[in-house]
Amino acid sequence: MAIRGRAHKVGDHIDTDLIIAGRYLVTTDPVKLGEHLFEDLDPGLRQRIRPGDVLVAGENFGQGSSREHAPLALVGAGVAAVVAASYARIFYRNAFNNGLLLLECPEASRAVQDGDELEIDPQTGEIRDLTRGELYRAKPIPPFMQELTQLGGIIPYVRRRLGREAS
């Protein structure tokens, strides 16, 4: 199903402390975590994000701490997908494991402006900037990550594998 929402732009090297500050890591509830999303980056940003919106980031999004609370906070705040020029590795794995769609697309990361209306096709990786009438194509998701995404992350993947091994 296509994702349609407004773009919220953030910069390069956004770390997981900025996504969700250490002081809030005392719960695993995505909604509670989502309430404090980006609090130290831009205290007004959380209020501007509507369910279904898209985060557009620069290079190395999600660097730093391995806290899986970061993708959970994004999910909890209703962010439907992230488009970035590149991702830090632990965040990348964590996002896939929590069903958060990540698209890698340096062109869109540069060109899309804050507030643009975006339409994303998760299957093809096509990112349409409806405000500007532009089309971008994200780097294809590696086949193994696609498989993980289709199953809903590493947990269902392991369940299925263990089930197979038992039979």
Binding site: H13, D15, D17, L18, A21, G22, R23, L25, V26, T27, T28, E39, D40, L41, E59, N60, Q63, G64, S65, S66, R67, E68, H69, L72, S86, A88, R89, I90, R93, N94, N97, N98, P142, F144, G153, I154, I155, Y157, V158, R159, R161, L162
Partner: protein, 426 residues
């Protein structure tokens, strides 16, 4: 074409003769752990998998270190979840208040990771253990749960970047300064998805404690792991500790590297990472005079005995500046005890420092020294991101322990030589 130490460890744990960068492999995990922040989520995910037991209780550790002793009711609840899981599954390697230290330092000290092994932890600084010649990497809680259920985890084989140090280390220049220098040069994503292999004759001039500071911060350059080939010093260190027989692994002479960076350390100075990126690295002399409110010596990067000795060398017979708070937090109970026996704790108390039981504490802005708006801290930790240690308007300079101690005495950033005047590196 040969393999690097990282490639060899991944290959052997995937039962493959050969792997190459980019290969996707599923590896056996020798040991894994989670902490009080990441364990509750890992436990939740583990229970979703629906298996009754962890793959091998002897290869699983839980360490309460971040907000422990619990800072509030919510963090106490997180610890309770972890304690209940540990009891239910009869897990033998559980470290609670009084016996707990910062996991990376504690688990190495306790011999849970040995050369040639593969170690994962639900904490990004798990790369710390690479100083032992092991492949060690941080993962999220879901990945940890998967490994806890199956004893296996998938990895993409990283390309390796090699960093070679030559020359003679000047006084006050430590392993921390070397790794900060690299991060300053290549940036916070300079080793993204890659392995960082550290080598060269300078490593022999470093204590094990200083070597751990280097591999510990590989993640600050975006690396998957940091690693050193296990020389005699490593083998001597690990032999009395290791809990299992192990097989050291070395890079082949014809291994292929994505890049090789050479450093001559002879003219280096102590450096700091200025706010608010670990890559914002400058010699301490360039920021001399910056006023500080708090200095913090501790963490998985620099809370080891060698760091405390360096700090004590600066603080002995001196007092913390009246406008500064100095916090000293030994990383583990064993280090605490050793510091006590060596008289270091006495030096810290005489200087007017606050000394605490082992915890991550201020490093993550949780408790034990949270910063107010506009405050400046010199910290021996690994991250100075906005808001990391408290208010988003606070500012953190990362340094080695001697620089942090010197700043505590001077009330401002200075080269340690300005506080201590003696010849020769000791």
């Amino acid at each position: 074409m040969g393999m690097t130490i990282t490639e060899k460890i991944l290959a052997s744990h995937a039962d493959l003769a050969k792997v190459e960068p980019g290969d996707l492999v599923e590896c056996r995990v020798d040991m894994l752990f989670a902490n009080d922040i990441t364990a509750p989520l890992a436990i939740q995910q583990f229970e979703r998998i629906g298996v009754d037991r962890v793959f091998d209780p002897d290869r699983v550790a839980f360490v309460l270190d971040h907000y422990s002793p619990s800072k509030d009711i919510a963090s106490a609840e997180q610890c309770r979840i972890t304690r209940e899981f540990v009891r239910k599954h009869g897990l033998p390697h559980f470290y609670d208040v009084g016996r707990a230290g910062i996991a990376h330092v504690l688990l190495a000290e306790e011999g849970f990771v040995a050369p040639g092994e593969l170690f994962v932890g639900a904490d990004s600084h798990t790369c710390n253990h690479g100083a032992l010649g092991a492949f060690a990497t941080g993962v999220g809680s879901s990945d940890l749960a998967a490994a806890m259920a199956t004893g296996r985890l998938w990895f993409r084989v990283p390309p390796t970047l090699r960093f070679v140090f030559r020359g003679t280390l000047p006084r006050w220049v430590t392993g921390k300064d070397l790794v900060l220098r690299i991060i300053g040069d290549i940036g916070v994503d300079g080793a993204r998805y890659a392995a960082m292999e550290f080598a060269g004759p300078v490593l022999q001039q470093l204590s094990m404690d200083e070597r751990f500071s280097i591999t510990n911060m590989a993640v600050e350059a975006g690396a998957k792991n940091g690693i050193m080939e296990p020389d005699e010093a490593v083998l001597e260190w690990i032999r009395p500790r290791a809990r299992r027989p192990f097989q050291p692994v070395y890079s082949d002479p014809d291994a292929s590297y994505a890049a090789v960076h050479e450093y001559d350390v002879t003219d280096m100075q102590p450096v700091v990472s200025a706010p608010s990126s670990p890559a914002n690295v400058v010699p301490v002399t360039e920021v001399t005079g910056v006023r500080v409110d708090q200095c913090f010596i501790g963490t998985c990067t620099n809370g080891r005995i060698e760091d405390l000795r360096q700090a004590a060398r600066v603080l002995a017979g001196r007092r913390v500046h009246p406008d500064v708070r100095l916090l000293v937090i030994p990383a583990t109970p064993r280090i605490y005890r050793q510091a006590l026996e060596e008289g270091l704790i006495q030096v810290f108390l005489d200087a007017g420092a606050a000394v605490s039981t082992p915890t991550c504490g201020p490093c993550i802005g949780g408790h034990m020294g949270v910063l107010a708006d506009g405050e400046v801290c010199v910290s021996t930790s690994s991250r100075n991101f906005i808001g990391r240690m408290g208010h988003r308007g606070s500012r953190v300079y990362l340094s080695n322990a001697a620089v942090a101690a010197a700043a505590a005495v001077a009330g401002k950033l200075v080269h340690p030589d300005e506080v201590v005047r003696e010849p020769a590196r000791v």
